[in-house]
Symmetry: C2
Subunit: 158 residues, 2 copies
DNA sequence: TATTGTTATACTCTATAACTATA
DNA sequence: TATAGTTATAGAGTATAACAATA
């Protein structure tokens, strides 16, 4: 990870993008996602796999489609992630109702979960280090408001 | 764009990810990026191309590497974007100092810029509709604080 | 028929390594 | 040698369409 640590835009250059929700969101997302990759990459996990394990651990026996709905992913995209985690012995797939498959963490997965939880905690602590609890909460509330608006966005509206 | 408009996580499911900076940032980013795609896709532009045109228009004659530094992109990734915009007659590449290339918007690019500016304005207005000016500014400040922390993130630190 | 899961595929964004060209 | 730009390539994340299996 080699990001320019300062806010950029050389002397005398205009910065028409700065200050807009879209741009600032992207600017923050990139290094944050990179930090997550670095954190979970230590355990040879992708960020999405870490999310998945953590969610399934908290919802043992949930189905794949429930996970997709909860995480806002497409079921098709979970397939390779789950396959990989199962192959590595971190989670199990058991037959559920109908075609459904119940997902659960193995003992080995629980050990890994310890690393993941610690990773999330480190990330949370360091990324939020410059914010008060109130500032952080206000930001999260704002992000959710924006998320909701973006989910309803229709570019054809007047 | 078909996103679940509500906050998800079915009845009785735990949501261990919610409330964390990383996760909320990702959750908001995805639909926001999709909204941008939808907005600029009307003009057959990618989001990154819209960023690029807008920045160059505000900094006529800037070099490719200056753009890369300002936008936080890798020079290599700008190549196909710039090539495409030049091919479509939206921007021009003129020889600059040394190997440098000076980028500028063409007349046709300026016309397109009108669409882009309008698009950014629509996005900004609609995505930020639920926030007061203060809330929005506080969120942007928080995002920059987090961005800075993430840029310095070192997963090997104790 | 509706839901669940899978396959195949494509596109965007980001990243790195290795290269060329110019001062 | 340092800076600017390019090529090639890889990987993560997302999306859709088309399909199979089960109630």
């Amino acid at each position: 990870m080699k990001f320019t640590p300062v806010r950029l835009v050389e002397e005398g250059m205009a910065d028409p993008l700065s200050g807009s929700i879209c741009y600032e969101l992207r600017r923050a997302s990139v290094p944050v996602m990179a930090a997550m990759s670095a954190e979970f990459g230590q355990w040879n996990l992708k960020t999405s796999e870490a999310y998945l394990l953590r969610f399934i651990a908290a919802n043992q026996g949930c189905t794949q489609s429930a996970v997709a709905r909860a995480l806002g992913s497409k079921p098709a995209n979970l397939v390779p992630l789950i396959a990989r985690l199962e192959r590595d012995g971190l989670l199990e797939r058991m037959p559920g109702e109908g075609r459904a498959v119940a997902l659960s963490i193995t003992d080995r997965g629980m050990t890994m979960l310890g690393n993941i939880e610690a990773g999330f905690q480190r990330l949370e602590g360091r990324l939020g280090a410059g914010l008060t609890a109130d500032q952080k909460q206000a930001m999260i509330d704002a992000l959710r408001t924006i998320c909701r608006a973006a989910c309803h966005y229709d570019s054809r509206e007047p």
